[in-house]
C-alpha cells in the first residue's frame, strides 16, 4: 500500500557516494565564478558613482572590475569544460547521458517530479540517487545558457584581446545585430542565473527538508542517504537514470 511499509527497519538506509570530489569541486568553483561574474557584470552594467579621485590616473577600479569579470570568465569556461569531460569519465551520477530525458523512464520521471514536487498533486515519494530527471534537465538548460554566456561574452571580448580563443566567437555579433544587441542578451542571461539560483537553492532545501536524504550536504561530502530498496543492485550501470528500471529487490512502487 505504501513504499514506507511498516516492515522497514533502520538498516533499510544506505549511505551512497554520489558526488565525487571533482564534481563537488566543479560545483563550488562554478558557483563562485557565477557569483563573481554576476557581481562584476552588474557593476559593469551600473557602475556606482564613486568619484573620489579627481584624476583618472589615480584609480583603475572600473578597469579592475572588468578585468576580474574577464578573468573569472576564463576560470568559468575551463571549469565548465572540465565538467563536460567528467561527464564521460566520472561515476554514473555524473554521466552526461543523464542530462537529457531521452529515455522513456527519464521522461516519465520528469512528469512525475512535476506532479510530486512542483505541483504537489501527488505525494508519492520519489527517490533519486543522482539528481532527479527534471533536475538534470534543468541543469542541461543551464549548460546551454552557459554556452550562450561564454559565446556572447567572448564575442564581445574578442576585439579587446589578441588571443585566439575569444575570436572563435565573433560570428555571434552579426547574429545579434552587433555588440549592442548581444550585450543586452548577455545581460538578460545573467538574470537566468539569478533566478536559477533562487529556485535551485530553494529546491535543495526543499528536498532536504521533505525527504531528509541529506541532499544539502551531498555537495559538500558527496554522500546521500537513501532507502536501501532504491539503491541500484548491480552498481555497475554508468547511468543513474537506469536505477528505476532495475530496482534491486525493491518493493513494487505504489500506484499513484
Amino acid at each position: 500500500m505504501s513504499t514506507h511499509a511498516p516492515s522497514a527497519s533502520p538498516s533499510a538506509y544506505q549511505r551512497i557516494y554520489v558526488w565525487e570530489l571533482p564534481v563537488r569541486f566543479y560545483h563550488w568553483l562554478n558557483a563562485l565564478c557565477i557569483l563573481v561574474l554576476t557581481v562584476t557584470g552588474f557593476l559593469i552594467a551600473n557602475p556606482p558613482a564613486i568619484n573620489t579621485a579627481s584624476e583618472a590616473s589615480f584609480s583603475y577600479w572600473f578597469g579592475m572590475n572588468r578585468f576580474i569579470h574577464f578573468a573569472a570568465a576564463y576560470v568559468f569556461v575551463f571549469n565548465f569544460a572540465f565538467r563536460i569531460y567528467w561527464g564521460f569519465v566520472g561515476n554514473k551520477y555524473a554521466n552526461w547521458k543523464n542530462f537529457l530525458p531521452l529515455r522513456w523512464t527519464q521522461a516519465k520521471e520528469v512528469a512525475k517530479v512535476l506532479r510530486v514536487d512542483i505541483l504537489q498533486s501527488s505525494n508519492t515519494p520519489l527517490v533519486a540517487a543522482g539528481h532527479n530527471a527534471l533536475a538534470y534537465l534543468t541543469y542541461f538548460v543551464m549548460f546551454l545558457v552557459f554556452v550562450f554566456q561564454v559565446a556572447s561574452g567572448f564575442a564581445m571580448y574578442a576585439n579587446m584581446s589578441d588571443a585566439w580563443f575569444p575570436s572563435l566567437f565573433t560570428w555571434m555579433l552579426p547574429l545579434f545585430g552587433g555588440d549592442a544587441g548581444l550585450r543586452q542578451w548577455h545581460h538578460l542571461a545573467t538574470w537566468f542565473f539569478i533566478i536559477f539560483t533562487i529556485i535551485h537553492v530553494y529546491l535543495v532545501f526543499y528536498h532536504d527538508y521533505v525527504e531528509g536524504h541529506g541532499v544539502l550536504s551531498s555537495m559538500a561530502g558527496g554522500w546521500k542517504f537513501l532507502p536501501k530498496k532504491h539503491v541500484d543492485g548491480d552498481g555497475k550501470s554508468r547511468f543513474s537514470g537506469q536505477r528505476a528500471a532495475k530496482p534491486a529487490g525493491a518493493a513494487p512502487r505504489s500506484p499513484s
Partner: protein, 392 residues
C-alpha cells in the same frame, strides 16, 4: 549647348590621370605626395603604401561614378562634401567622374535620365555605383519613385552593370531611421536586394567624410574591395569600437562618470557611459579620425555616442539609458526589468511553494516510520501519515 552634350568618350577619359588633373589645377607635387601619405596612413598601408597610392593616382583614369538617392536625408552626400583634407574635395571632383547624382547634377528630368542611361550603358561593368538611402519594397515600391519608376526597379537596373557597389551610410547599409520599428515602408538595405555584386558598407549616420573619401580612394587605387569585417564594413575604419579609441577611456577605467549632463563631472570631461554612451558597442573611427577635419566628435562635445554606425541602432534606445529597451519587448523594457519581474515572481512562487509544501507534505516531513531505530517497527502515526499521503 552642343559642346557639352556629346557623351563622354572612353578615349578622352584615358588622356588624363588624377595626377595630371591635380597638377593642372595648381596642386604641387609636394601637396600631392602629402595627400598620398595621408591616404595610405588612413588605409593602414604605412610608408610603403605612399608610393603605391601615388603610382595609382598618377596612372589611373577617372572612374565613372553613379550615385543614386533613394530613401535618405542627403546627409551622406552632405558629409561627403565636408571631406576636409586640403585637397580631398578637389580630388574627388577630378579623380572620379561623378556622372550622376541628383544633388549636384545640372540637368533635370529627361536630360538627367539620359545622362544616367548613357553612363550605365557606355560603361557597363566599369562604373562604380554609390547608393545613398534604403529601398522601400512594400506596396510595389510606391514609397519611393523617381521619374515614374520605383526605386526597387531602378536599383536592379543600375546595379546590373556596376563594377562594385558602395552603400553609403546607415540607410543603404541597414535601413536606418525609416527601417526603425515598425518600418512602415519596408525600407530595405541594398545588400538584401542586390546579390552577386561586391558591396562595401560605409556605415554611419552619416559616415565620416574622410572615411567616405578613403574608401573611394582605396577602390580607385587598388582596383579591389578593401578588407571587410563580418558586417561588410572596411576594416580600416570599422575595426575598433569608439570606446577603444575614446580619449575619455581613462575615466571609464577609473570609474569616473558623468552622472548628469553639465554636472561637475561633465565639466571635467568624465566618461559618458552612464549618460547612455554607446561607444562600447559601436565600431567607427570617430575617436581617431574625428569629424570635420578632426575638430571634434560627439563624445568630445559632451554627448554620448548613439551608435550611429551600427545596424538597428534606432531600436537600441532609449539613448540616455545605458542599456537599451529590450529588443522585441517594446520600449521601457530593459533586461533588468524583465529580470526583476521574473525574479520577484520566482521568490513569490518559491514562498508559496514552501507554504504549500508545509501543508500538503506535512506528513512526509520529519521522521518517517521505520527511519529511526528508537522508534520501533511500527507506529500508528506512520499509518495515518501514509493514509494522508495516499489520499491525493
Amino acid at each position: 549647348m552642343d559642346i557639352l552634350t556629346p557623351s563622354p568618350s572612353v578615349d578622352s577619359r584615358d588622356t588624363t590621370t588624377v595626377y595630371e588633373q591635380l597638377t593642372s589645377r595648381g596642386v604641387s607635387r609636394r601637396d600631392f605626395l602629402k595627400f598620398c601619405g595621408w591616404m595610405s596612413a588612413c588605409m593602414g598601408l604605412g610608408s610603403e603604401g605612399v608610393a603605391q597610392v601615388a603610382l595609382a593616382l598618377e596612372t589611373k583614369k577617372r572612374i565613372p561614378v553613379v550615385w543614386m538617392h533613394f530613401q535618405e536625408c542627403t546627409c551622406c552626400s552632405e558629409s561627403f562634401l565636408r571631406s576636409s583634407h586640403p585637397i580631398v574635395a578637389d580630388i574627388l571632383l577630378d579623380k572620379i567622374s561623378l556622372d550622376y547624382t541628383e544633388t549636384l547634377l545640372a540637368a533635370s528630368g529627361h536630360q538627367a535620365e539620359s545622362v544616367l542611361h548613357q553612363t550605365i550603358t557606355k560603361y557597363k561593368g566599369e562604373y562604380l555605383l554609390c547608393i545613398e538611402g534604403s529601398v522601400p519594397t512594400a506596396a510595389d515600391g510606391v514609397y519611393c519613385c523617381i521619374g515614374g519608376r520605383s526605386a526597387v526597379d531602378i536599383i536592379q537596373e543600375v546595379a546590373a552593370g556596376a563594377k562594385a557597389i558602395i552603400a553609403w551610410g546607415n540607410c543603404a547599409c541597414s535601413g536606418c531611421v525609416q527601417a526603425a520599428k515598425p518600418n512602415p515602408t519596408s525600407a530595405t538595405p541594398v545588400s538584401k536586394i542586390i546579390t552577386g555584386k561586391p558591396i562595401v558598407h560605409v556605415q554611419g549616420c552619416p559616415p565620416i567624410a574622410e572615411v567616405m573619401a578613403g574608401v573611394l580612394v582605396h577602390l580607385l587605387t587598388f582596383d579591389r574591395i578593401p578588407q571587410l569585417d563580418a558586417l561588410g564594413r572596411p576594416k580600416a575604419f570599422y575595426s575598433r569600437r569608439v570606446h577603444d579609441t575614446c580619449y575619455r577611456r581613462p575615466n571609464y577605467d577609473a570609474g569616473l562618470f558623468v552622472e548628469s549632463f553639465d554636472d561637475e563631472n561633465a565639466r571635467k570631461g568624465y566618461c559618458l557611459y552612464k549618460m547612455g554612451c554607446r561607444g562600447p558597442t559601436t565600431y567607427n573611427s570617430c575617436g581617431t579620425i574625428r569629424w570635420n577635419g578632426g575638430v571634434s566628435f560627439p563624445i568630445q562635445s559632451g554627448h554620448g555616442c548613439i551608435g550611429c554606425s551600427e545596424s538597428s541602432f534606432w531600436d537600441n534606445g532609449p539613448f540616455y539609458e545605458r542599456l537599451g529597451s529590450f529588443p522585441g519587448f517594446g520600449i521601457e523594457t530593459t533586461a533588468d526589468k524583465i529580470g526583476l519581474v521574473v525574479g520577484a515572481a520566482t521568490v513569490v512562487g518559491a514562498t508559496g511553494h514552501a507554504i504549500l509544501t508545509n501543508i500538503r507534505k506535512h506528513h512526509e516531513i520529519g521522521e518517517q516510520p521505520g527511519e529511526s531505530a528508537a522508534q520501533g517497527p511500527s507506529t500508528s502515526a506512520g499509518e495515518s501519515s501514509n493514509q494522508g499521503g495516499t489520499q491525493s
